[in-house]
Each structure stands twice: as structure tokens, then as C-alpha cells.
């Protein structure tokens, strides 16, 4: 279990306990946190679960797999701290992770 904090574009903060093994994307979808569309359902094929990760977490996350950076090219306003939240699998190590959800996904 890890506490994940999602900051949505309307300046609201959602701190959720997400079970280990789920993705950061699924944590948002299951808890109705707005702004993550996840059109392709976690297949790294759409870039609509794009989030900005708080800087101090960047190097604690699993490295990007082939294809994630390619998909981020398609994301709305990608930045250096952009990740696809479907690729972030929750574990105890991610307890306290903070992500910002962009203003829109496309």
C-alpha cells in the first residue's frame, strides 16, 4: 500500500491509498480523480494518462521502458518530469509519491 497524492488542474489535492500492484493510473481511475483519461486502458498506446511527477521522485521511479518516451512525444505539453501513469506500478517504495495531472490530455 502506498499513499499517492494527485494534484488536479482545479487546484484540488487528492491523497489516496493505492494497493500495491495497481498502477498510478488505476489508482486515479478507481477513485474518480479527474484528468486521467487512460483511453487505451494501460497499453502504453495513447498517452492520455500523462502526469508530471514531483521532481524529488523522478529518480526513485522505475526507468522508462522502450516506447514510453515515444508515447510522451504525443502527450499534451510534455516536460522533463512527464511520465505515463499506467507505467508506474505501486509498491511500498512509492509511498508518498506526488503527481500533477495536466490541464488536459489532448
Amino acid at each position: 500500500m502506498a499513499k499517492i497524492t494527485y494534484y488536479t488542474h482545479d487546484n484540488k489535492t487528492h491523497t489516496i491509498d493505492v494497493q500495491n500492484g495497481l498502477t498510478v493510473m488505476e489508482g486515479a481511475i478507481q477513485n474518480d480523480i479527474p484528468g486521467i483519461d487512460a483511453d487505451c486502458g494501460g497499453g502504453m498506446a495513447c498517452a492520455t494518462c500523462h502526469v508530471y511527477v514531483k521532481e524529488q521522485w523522478l529518480d526513485k521511479l522505475p526507468a522508462k521502458e522502450d516506447g514510453e518516451e515515444d508515447m510522451l512525444d504525443m502527450a499534451f505539453e510534455p516536460k522533463n518530469n512527464s511520465r505515463l501513469s499506467c507505467q508506474l506500478i505501486v509498491s511500498d517504495e512509492l509511498d508518498g509519491l506526488e503527481v500533477n495531472i495536466p490541464s488536459k490530455q489532448g
Binding site: 498506446a45 492520455t48 518516451e69
Partner: protein, 338 residues
């Protein structure tokens, strides 16, 4: 006016298999899709990626699955209307009148929405002012490349479309290619070619830059691009092209009075009919308790929706359940000769 029993919206695997099921029970159908080819997400998002969970098919690609489905419905001579988006539905007595973006009209007994996550539209620039130039000097696809001759073009993106057009247009235009990072997702040979052209001064490559602003009166006159580290460069140009792939949008489906919940349409699980009689929804676009977004679920939903369509197409007839292994009628419809 196209008159048929059922209009299927969406030519993805679910829509294609539903056409098969309609054909087997003797109903006619036509299929509309916004893309220029059949296959839906299988073709647009992952044509080369393997799929491992189609029953009795241990492994296939999105393209193979699509081709096999097309082969399977060949006997029914289904008419496809590609590059068309359904815009409007109107009830006309017991039937539906449907209009598409290209002005086609349909008179049908029922409608099956197999629209996936919506229709594919180009992804746009995040900068708001871009909209103003969309009709004339800022484009997301190219229909007539002759308009770029001797002009200055700024192309954004790092995939095959961006690379291929940058290479092609560099023959006749002054091309800037701008991409957010050093790596590209396009083919390695094209990346090398772009780098060579850049070295030869036949194209200007800017990496780690993204769009910052666009300006101009009626047409674009210049753009500003911003480096990862903050420097801003101004580039004069006549056209801006953005190639960021496609995104799915529900579009006009939202206006048809259907019960929509989180971008999906609520249906019953008996025949996948929506809250509106005669309109069915199957595949990724439908939702019900326990819904799984799997292709195999879409096949099941299509088989039941097809049977649900029967009473609207042939109100005076009774549908009898038959197996294709033994049904003479079904085999005749499949064109099997014994």
C-alpha cells in the same frame, strides 16, 4: 440514401464481427468509420504489436486480426463508408435516419455503436492561439503538398509522419523540424536522413525545443520555440505542421441522448441495447457491471446485439437459434458450396 437493416458505427474488430453475426442471421448492414481503413485501434494504435488473448488464436498482430475478420465477413459483401463520421441521428417512424460528416444519408432499422473510445482526431498543439490559424496556415495533415512550394515550413513531432514530411518537403521548401527531445520514434533510416539533411544545410533541425507561441495577422508569420533550458528562438515561417498522432474523441455521440458514463455508453447485458430503443453499443464504448475491455468481450456483445437488431429489421419474423455447423440457411449466406 443508403437503405440497409443495420448501420454499424466503427470498423474495429467488434464492429467487423458484429457484421458477421448480422450476416449469419440474414440481416444486411453497412459500416461507417472515421479512419481511412478498417481495424480501429488494432490498426491505428498497435498494428504490429502481438495480441495473445483471442480465443483459439495463440498469437496474432492487430493487422492480422483485422485482415482475418475482413476475410470472415467477405461473403456478406458489407459496404464500408470510410473517412466518414456519423454526425446526426433522427428517428423517422420506426426507422432511423443517419447523416455523416461527408453528407451521406442512411435509412436503417437499427444502429450498433462499436466506436471504441470515439473517433480518431489529430492531437493538437497545446498553445491556445493555434486554433485561430487552423483553417489556413496551421495544419495537422497534408492534402495538397503543392501549397508549400518555396515557403518556409515548421514541422513539429518526432514520429514517422514528421520525419517523412520533413524529408519530402525539404526538396521544395525551407523546412524547420522541431522536436522535444534528441530521440525520435520514427524509423532509424529517416532519422539519419534528417540528420544528414541538417548537416548539409537543407533542413534545420531543432531538438529539445517545443512550441511557445505563434503570431501573425490572418496567417502565421512567425513562431517562438522554447528550449528545455528556457532559451526562446523566434522563427519566421509561412506554415506550421503538427504531427502528434491521433487521439480519440467521443464527438457527436455525446449529443444523441444516450446515457453516458465516463466516456462510455450504458447498455443492458441481454442484448446490449442502450436507453434508446434500436440503438445498441458494443465493445470498448459500452459499459455494464463487470465490463472487460477485451476484444473477446466485444465479439460476445456483437453476437447478442446482432440478434437484438433482428426484431427491428424484421418485426414480423421470429429468429430461430441455429449453429453454423448445421444451419443450411447460414451456410448459404456464407456462400458455402457442398
Amino acid at each position: 440514401m443508403n437503405k440497409t437493416d443495420v448501420l454499424i458505427i466503427g470498423a474495429g474488430p467488434t464492429g467487423l464481427f458484429c457484421a458477421h453475426q448480422l450476416g449469419i442471421i440474414g440481416l444486411s448492414c453497412e459500416i461507417v468509420d472515421n479512419l481511412d481503413k478498417a481495424g480501429g485501434q488494432c490498426i491505428e494504435l498497435y498494428p504490429d504489436k502481438p495480441i495473445y488473448d483471442i480465443p483459439a488464436v495463440p498469437e496474432c498482430t492487430g493487422e492480422e486480426l483485422t485482415n482475418n475478420l475482413l476475410k470472415q465477413i467477405k461473403p456478406f459483401k458489407v459496404k464500408f463508408h470510410l473517412n466518414e463520421r456519423v454526425e446526426q441521428l433522427k428517428k423517422a417512424e420506426n426507422r432511423w435516419n443517419v447523416k455523416t460528416s461527408g453528407g451521406k444519408e442512411f435509412d436503417v432499422a437499427s444502429i450498433v455503436i462499436a466506436g471504441g473510445v470515439g473517433s480518431f482526431e489529430p492531437r493538437k498543439f497545446p498553445v491556445k492561439e493555434c486554433e485561430k490559424f487552423e483553417s489556413n496556415s496551421l495544419l495537422y495533415s497534408i492534402k495538397d503538398k503543392s501549397i508549400f512550394k518555396d515557403k518556409t515550413i515548421s514541422i513539429f513531432g518526432g514520429g514517422d509522419s514528421a520525419l517523412d514530411w520533413a524529408i519530402e518537403l525539404s526538396n521544395t521548401s525551407n523546412v524547420n523540424l522541431i522536436h522535444r527531445r534528441d530521440g525520435f520514434s520514427g524509423a532509424e533510416a529517416s532519422v539519419q536522413k534528417v540528420k544528414d539533411l541538417n548537416d548539409q544545410g537543407k533542413l534545420n533541425l531543432f531538438t529539445k525545443y517545443q512550441i511557445d507561441s505563434v503570431s501573425g495577422d490572418k496567417k502565421i508569420e512567425s513562431i517562438k520555440i522554447k528550449h528545455d533550458e528556457g532559451q526562446i528562438k523566434e522563427i519566421k515561417c509561412d506554415y506550421v505542421l503538427g504531427f502528434f498522432g491521433l487521439i480519440m474523441q467521443l464527438g457527436p455521440i455525446l449529443d444523441w441522448g444516450l446515457n453516458i458514463n465516463k466516456k462510455t455508453i450504458e447498455v443492458n447485458t441481454e442484448n446490449f441495447e442502450t436507453n434508446i430503443n434500436g440503438i445498441f453499443a458494443i465493445g470498448d464504448i459500452c459499459s455494464y457491471p463487470g465490463k472487460l475491455k477485451l476484444i473477446l468481450s466485444g465479439f460476445h456483445e456483437g453476437a447478442l446485439a446482432a440478434r437484438g437488431c433482428f426484431k427491428y429489421a424484421k418485426p414480423d419474423e421470429k429468429l430461430r437459434f441455429e449453429f453454423t455447423t448445421t444451419s443450411k440457411a447460414a451456410q448459404e449466406r456464407l456462400g458455402i458450396k457442398k
